[in-house]
Amino acid sequence: MTCRGQTYDNASAMSGIYNGLQAKVLEVNGVATWIPCTAHSLNLVGKNAAECCRSAVNFFDILEKLYVFFTNFTRRHQVLTDVLNASLTLKRVTTTRWSCRADATKALKLGYHQIKGALQQISDDVEEKACVRCEAEGLVTRLNQLETGIYTVFWNDILQRVDATNRSLQSTKLDLNTAVATLTSLKDFVSSKRDSFEGYEREGEELCGSSVYVESTTRQKRRSVRLEAVDYGHGEETQFNPSLRFKVESFLPVIDQFTASLHQRLQAYELLAGRFGCFGCLSTLSPEELTTAAKTLIGTYPDDLDHSFADELCHFAKFADIFKDDEPSGNISTEQFLYKLIINKGVQDTFPNVAIALRMYLVLMVTNCSAERSFSKLKLIENRLRTSMTQLKEDWSV
């Protein structure tokens, strides 16, 4: 088979290393390397981070509650839309659509005071039912907490970047090195936020108008002073102040969980990125390094590349160097530019192996967004009122 890559979501039936679909395809075709869908991976990373500690779960619960509170009744929704900017909307928090979390936190951050005002208005409205006013009051209390303020600012920062990355991952023209580079940069961005807790704390204070943690206003739990037999020799437990405790228990774990699981997911792409990495930096590699890279490729694809590939690649590096000023900024990746160069200059016969290697690289699919898109199309065509179409007709219509 001339199939050189396979991409599925991370479901175990697909990704299983012994009995997954990818393992079965690899049995018949050893070079059809499996690439876990990058968009799905990023989604899972985000999901892990959002569920790693209680306060994070709590925060997204507030978002969900706000959405439900305002959208379930048209009158409440009217109160909200009257005060909120038209471009902002609260969204339901789902695990599959990350952009809605980003939208929801953005709406909360930019419209914090307006949302609080709307809730206040409802809780003060004597015509509302008592339970509704109670609920609104409860939500106002939670929005007044410093923890919510800090998390709103912090998650907004993270989710806007995740969302932007996710959007670029959905492009059909995307290739592997670009995808890996975007994900790696996202990882570095998030881990750089580790030291900026104080900044978030300040912004959070401004947003929610309170500068004391809930913990410092609630009654402290008293530790039992009764000595037990096994307690001998134990020192006193370290007591964090509330700010430090929030940082250690709710801020750092999210960042660490995010970077750690992204790092783990990124390892799946290292093999392929290493294999084809040489094309991204042809001009900076020495001839020896190019030869090593070429040898690895020949070893992996013995049926496609022959032994002249090493020399050809060194030659091609010099060739590409001449035209390097033609490279357009943005739009297409280096590898795509190199392939276009070969085709446009008509030098396939001079660099046949390089052209083959570039083709094999460019056909690698890094996301299975196209498959998901076909489902959206299917949903439009076969809807609730049109369920009796034959299989064949569906195929052709899509």
């Binding site: 088979m1 001339t2 199939c3 050189r4 890559g5 396979q6 991409t7 599925y8 979501d9 039936a13 697909m14 299983g16 009995n19 679909l21 393992a23 079965k24 395809v25 018949v28 059809a32 869908c37 059909t172 023209k173 290739d175 049926d303 297409i332 795509q336 276009k340 085709i343 446009n344 083959i356 083709r359 094999m360 460019l362 056909v363 690698l364 699919m365 299975n368 196209s370 498959a371 998901e372 898109r373 076909s374 489902f375 199309k377 299917l378 949903k379 065509i381 076969e382 809807n383 609730r384 049109r386 369920t387 009796s388 299989q391 064949l392 007709k393 195929d395 052709w396 219509s397 899509v398």
Partner: protein
């Protein structure tokens, strides 16, 4: 003419056959043979110069052919229009003039308001019921959709083949009528840039890796994509 060519001539021209057993195959192969095509070309060329006894009949058949071709052109454009937008083709009935006859007949009627040819066709041939050819029925429409769909699919597959290398992506979901749909997307090189294209939905293939693998291999083998070299 060289003797080789004489020998290769089909028996249809030469000595004939002793029975009708393979009549269809022989006729088909004769139709595509060089002799037949040459003969038809020569016949038509002479016809224009010299004229012939059944010239009226020939002209009539030409006219009829032209007529149906124009009808077909209009149906095909309407089908393309509807499929592009993912609209429903049919309605409650298939009567010309009915407000519930669906998008296909509806759009044809709309075109007919500004196109005399179609207006006349619909007026004379429409609503005559089954048994009368008007090329506006749902049967013909579905046949056309199938032919067009096959053409599109063949084109995609041939592009994948000319790209030589490709990669696959599979995913499945349940559709509105609770049938599991396994979708297959191929990525290949089109001219000088990668392209991703949806190729097929496979219904109810199962969720186990083995079942999906079988479905994938079946598709690839069927379209001749699983050979070691393309």
């Amino acid at each position: 003419m060289c003797p080789d060519a004489l020998q290769s001539q089909s028996l249809l021209i030469g000595s004939g056959f002793c029975n009708w057993k393979h009549a269809l195959e022989r006729l088909c192969s004769h139709e595509q043979s060089k002799e037949h095509i040459d003969a038809v070309i020569a016949f038509n060329r002479r016809l224009k110069v010299a004229g012939r006894i059944d010239i009226k009949v020939a002209q009539q058949s030409e006219q009829v052919e032209k007529y149906w071709k124009s009808v077909l052109k209009r149906s095909v454009s309407v089908i393309k229009f509807i499929a592009e937008r993912g609209l429903a083709f049919r309605g409650d009935d298939e009567l010309i003039g009915s407000p519930r006859n669906g998008n296909y007949l509806g759009i044809l009627e709309l075109i007919a308001q500004y196109d005399d040819f179609l207006a006349q066709h619909i007026q004379t041939q429409g609503n005559r019921g089954s048994g009368h050819t008007n090329y506006l029925s749902s049967t013909i429409m579905e046949e056309l959709i199938n032919v067009m769909g096959k053409k599109v699919n063949d084109e995609t597959i041939s592009r994948v083949k000319s790209s030589k290398y490709y990669s696959v992506s599979l995913d499945s979901t349940a559709d509105e009528s609770h049938v599991d749909q396994l979708t297959l997307v191929l990525r290949y090189i089109e001219n000088d840039a990668p392209a991703e294209r949806f190729v097929t939905f496979m219904g109810n293939k199962g969720h186990k890796a083995r079942e999906m693998f079988d479905a994938l291999m079946e598709f690839l083998t069927e379209h001749d994509l699983s050979r070691p070299d393309l």
